[in-house]
C-alpha cells in the first residue's frame, strides 16, 4: 500500500478524498453489501453509545449512592409493574439496567480495543523481529509461539488472570481487574499476528526496496518500522478485526465466570452473570438485555471482519 502511495506522491496532484473513496475497492465493496453497511452502522452506534455512556445514561451505575435498594428488581418500563424511570428495569442492587448496559458496553469495548492493541503490538513487533533477524532469535520466538498455540486463547487468558490474581494483593484486585484483563486477553492473542507478520517479513526483506534501504545504511529498526511494517499491515488489520470480536467475547466470558470485572464495575459479562441468578425467579430482563447487547455487538464486529477478510483477499476477486 505504501509503495503505491509513494508513487502517487511523485506523480501529478493526488485526487480528492471523495474521488479516492469512489475508486477505492475497499469502500466500494463495503457499500456493495447491505449486511456489511448495516453491521458497520450498528457497530458505529454501539461504539458511540459506549463512548458517550456518561452523557446518555440517566444514572451512574458505578455510584452506589445514586442507586436505591428499594428500586431493585423493577421490571422494564413497557411491562406491567414497570417504573417510568427505568427503561429496561433494574438489577438486584437497584441499578438502572439501561445505564449499566451503556457503561458495560463502554468497558467491554475499551477492554476489547486495548487488548487487541496490546496483542497486536507485541505480535507484530515479535513477528517483524523474528522474520527479519532469522536464526536463533527467530526459532526462539517461534518455539514459544508454538507452545502457546497448543492451548486455546481462553485458557491462556484464564491462566494469566489466575496468576495475576495470585501475585496481586487481594485489596487492590478490584482496581487492577481492568488492567489484568487487558493484559491477559492481549497476551493470549499475539501468536497469530507474529506468525502472519513473520511470514510476510521474510518475503519483504528480500525485496529491492529493503536491500536499497540497507545499502544506504539505514538502521534495522528504521527499516523495520518505516519500510517493512507498512507493507505487512494488510493481514494484520483483518486479524485485528476478527480478534476484536474474540476479545470482547473473552472479556465477557471471564467476567461471566467471575474472574473478570467485579460486580461494582459491571461489564456486559458481569451483568449477565448477575442476571443468571434470576433466571428461575422470573426477572428475565436482567439477563436478557445485556445478552442482547453483547450478541449484537459481537455479531456486527464479526460481520465487519468477514467483509474485511474477503475484501483484502486477492484470491476471491
Amino acid at each position: 500500500m505504501s509503495r503505491a502511495d509513494d508513487l502517487a506522491k511523485s506523480g501529478p496532484a493526488p485526487p480528492s478524498l471523495i474521488a479516492r473513496l469512489r475508486d477505492n475497492d475497499l469502500a466500494a465493496s463495503f457499500l456493495a453489501s447491505k449486511t456489511t453497511v448495516a453491521a458497520g452502522l450498528i457497530a458505529l452506534i454501539l461504539i458511540v453509545a459506549g463512548l458517550a455512556a456518561s452523557l446518555i445514561a440517566p444514572t451512574d451505575p458505578f455510584n452506589p449512592a445514586a442507586n436505591f435498594l428499594m428500586d431493585s428488581l423493577t421490571p422494564p418500563r413497557f411491562v406491567a409493574g414497570g417504573d417510568p424511570r427505568f427503561l429496561l428495569g433494574t438489577d438486584d442492587q437497584g441499578r438502572d439496567l439501561w445505564s449499566a448496559i451503556l457503561y458495560g458496553l463502554r468497558i467491554s469495548l475499551m477492554i476489547g480495543f486495548l487488548s487487541v492493541l496490546l496483542g497486536g503490538a507485541i505480535g507484530v513487533a515479535l513477528g517483524l523481529i523474528a522474520g527479519y533477524a532469522g536464526g536463533w532469535i527467530d526459532s526462539m520466538i517461534m518455539r514459544v509461539a508454538d507452545v502457546q498455540l497448543t492451548f486455546p486463547a481462553i485458557l491462556i487468558a484464564l491462566l494469566l488472570d489466575g496468576v495475576a490474581h495470585a501475585l496481586l494483593q487481594k485489596s487492590n484486585r478490584e482496581e487492577t481487574a481492568f488492567l489484568v484483563l487487558v493484559a491477559a486477553i492481549g497476551l493470549s492473542f499475539w501468536v497469530q499476528y507474529a506468525r502472519t507478520v513473520r511470514g510476510s517479513t521474510m518475503v519483504e526483506k528480500n525485496r529491492d526496496y529493503v536491500q536499497a534501504a540497507r545499502l544506504i545504511g539505514l538502521k534495522p529498526t528504521r527499516i523495520l518500522v518505516r519500510h517493512i511494517l507498512p507493507n505487512v499491515m494488510g493481514p494484520v488489520l483483518v486479524i485485528a478485526t476478527i480478534n476484536l470480536a474474540i476479545a470482547i467475547i473473552t472479556e465477557a466470558t471471564l467476567s461471566f465466570l467471575g474472574v473478570g470485572l467485579p460486580p461494582t464495575e459491571p461489564s456486559l459479562g458481569t451483568l449477565i452473570r448477575i442476571g443468571q441468578n434470576f433466571l428461575f425467579s422470573g426477572e428475565w430482563w436482567i439477563v436478557a438485555f445485556p445478552s442482547l447487547a453483547l450478541a449484537v455487538l459481537v455479531l456486527s464486529v464479526n460481520l465487519l471482519g468477514d467483509w474485511l477478510r474477503d475484501a483484502l483477499n486477492p484470491r476471491l476477486k
Binding site: T150, P152, I154, V163, L167, F256, G258, V259, L279, W284
Partner: protein
C-alpha cells in the same frame, strides 16, 4: 515414516517439559507454598521445618527436576483449598468432563460435516443460506449465552430438561462414574453437550464447506465429470474424501479445545467436572490444581497433535512421498 514419528514424539516431549517448567514456576514462585498450606497460628520454626521438608530450600534446578518427576507420576501435591491430593480431585471429576466432551465431539461432527457438505454442494439454496447465517450466529454467540438461552427455553419455560448437575450417575469400577446409564443422566447431558457442540459445529461446518468448494474446483473433479461418473459418486467418492484430509487436522485440534471450553459450559450448567474445579482454583489461588490442570490439558493437546500428524501422513499419499523424498 518411523523417523518422522520419532521426531514428532521428541518434539512433543520437549513441549511437555516446557509446559512442566512453566507449571513449576507457577507452583514455586506465584505466592509462597508454605504460607498457603499452614494456618495463621503456625510458628516461624514450624514454617521453616515445613519448608525444609518440602525441599523448598533446595537449589531451583533440583526442585524443578523433582516437580517434573513427581508430575510424570501424576503426583501434583496437595490442594491448598481442599487439603486433598490434587490427582484424586482431578481424577474424581475427569469422567464427567470426558463424557461431556465425548458427546459434544460426536454431536459436532455428526451435524457439522453433513451441513458443510450440503452447503458446498448446494451453494445458493435457501437451506445453505440458513446454515451460513446460523454459523455466523453460532460463532458470534458466546458459549455461556448459548447455555443461558437453552436453560431459559427448556428448563424455565418448558420445564423439560434439568438445568444443572449430572443427574444420577452409575459407578463403574473404582475410577469411573457414568451418566450414560440412567434416564436423568442422559437428560442432564443434552443441554450441556449441545451448548459445547454448537460452537465447534459451526467451525466444522464452515471449514468443510470452504474445503469442499476448493476441491470441487480441482481438475480431477472436472475429469471425473467428463468420464460420465454420477454426481453422487463424484461428490462422495472423490470430493468428500479429499476434503476430509485437511479437515482432520483442524477438527482434531478443535476436539482438544472442547475440553478447554467445557470450563464455561460446566459453570453454566453446574456440571461437576474438571473445568469447574479449575475455575474454583483460579478464584481461590489454588496453584497446585492450576498447575496440574495446565499439565493435563497440555498432555491432551500434545497427544492429539501427535495422532493428527501421524494420521495426516498416513492418509495423504503426497505427504508420505515428500517424507520419503526428504529421507532420500
Amino acid at each position: 515414516m518411523i523417523a518422522f514419528i520419532v521426531r514428532r514424539v521428541f518434539a512433543s516431549i520437549g513441549v511437555m517439559i516446557a509446559v512442566g517448567l512453566i507449571a513449576f514456576a507457577m507452583f514455586r514462585y506465584v505466592g509462597d507454598p508454605v504460607n498457603q498450606m499452614v494456618g495463621v497460628e503456625t510458628s516461624v520454626a514450624e514454617r521453616a521445618q515445613l519448608r525444609e521438608e518440602l525441599g523448598l530450600n533446595d537449589p531451583a534446578i533440583v526442585q524443578a527436576l523433582r516437580f517434573l518427576s513427581h508430575a510424570a507420576r501424576f503426583d501434583f501435591g496437595v490442594s491448598y483449598q481442599f487439603k486433598e491430593p490434587v490427582a484424586d480431585l482431578i481424577g474424581a471429576r475427569m469422567p464427567a468432563t470426558l463424557e461431556l466432551a465425548f458427546v459434544a465431539s460426536i454431536l459436532s461432527l455428526l451435524a457439522g460435516i453433513p451441513m458443510g457438505v450440503y452447503a458446498a454442494l448446494h451453494r445458493d439454496s435457501a437451506l445453505s443460506r440458513l446454515f451460513q447465517a446460523l454459523s455466523l450466529i453460532g460463532i458470534s454467540l458466546p458459549t455461556f449465552l448459548t447455555g443461558i438461552l437453552l436453560i431459559t427455553l427448556f428448563s424455565v419455560t418448558l420445564g423439560w430438561l434439568p438445568s444443572f448437575g449430572r443427574g444420577e450417575v452409575v459407578r463403574l469400577g473404582p475410577w469411573w462414574t457414568t451418566g450414560f446409564l440412567t434416564v436423568s443422566g442422559l437428560k442432564s447431558l443434552i443441554m450441556p453437550a449441545t451448548t459445547l457442540a454448537l460452537f465447534q459445529m459451526t467451525l466444522i461446518m464452515r471449514l468443510v464447506r470452504a474445503e469442499m468448494l476448493e476441491v470441487l474446483r480441482a481438475d480431477y473433479i472436472r475429469f471425473a465429470r467428463a468420464r460420465g461418473l454420477s454426481e453422487s459418486a463424484i461428490h462422495f467418492r472423490h470430493a468428500l474424501k479429499n476434503t476430509l484430509v485437511p479437515v482432520i487436522t483442524i477438527v482434531g485440534l478443535q476436539l482438544g479445545s472442547i475440553v478447554a471450553f467445557s470450563i464455561i459450559t460446566e459453570t453454566v450448567f453446574a456440571w461437576p467436572g474438571m473445568g469447574q474445579l479449575f475455575l474454583q482454583s483460579i478464584q481461590n489461588v489454588d496453584i497446585p490444581i492450576m498447575a496440574a490442570y495446565l499439565l493435563f490439558i497440555a498432555l491432551m493437546f500434545v497427544i492429539i497433535n501427535l495422532v493428527v500428524d501421524i494420521l495426516y501422513v498416513s492418509i495423504d499419499p503426497r505427504l508420505r512421498a515428500s517424507l520419503h523424498g526428504m529421507r532420500g
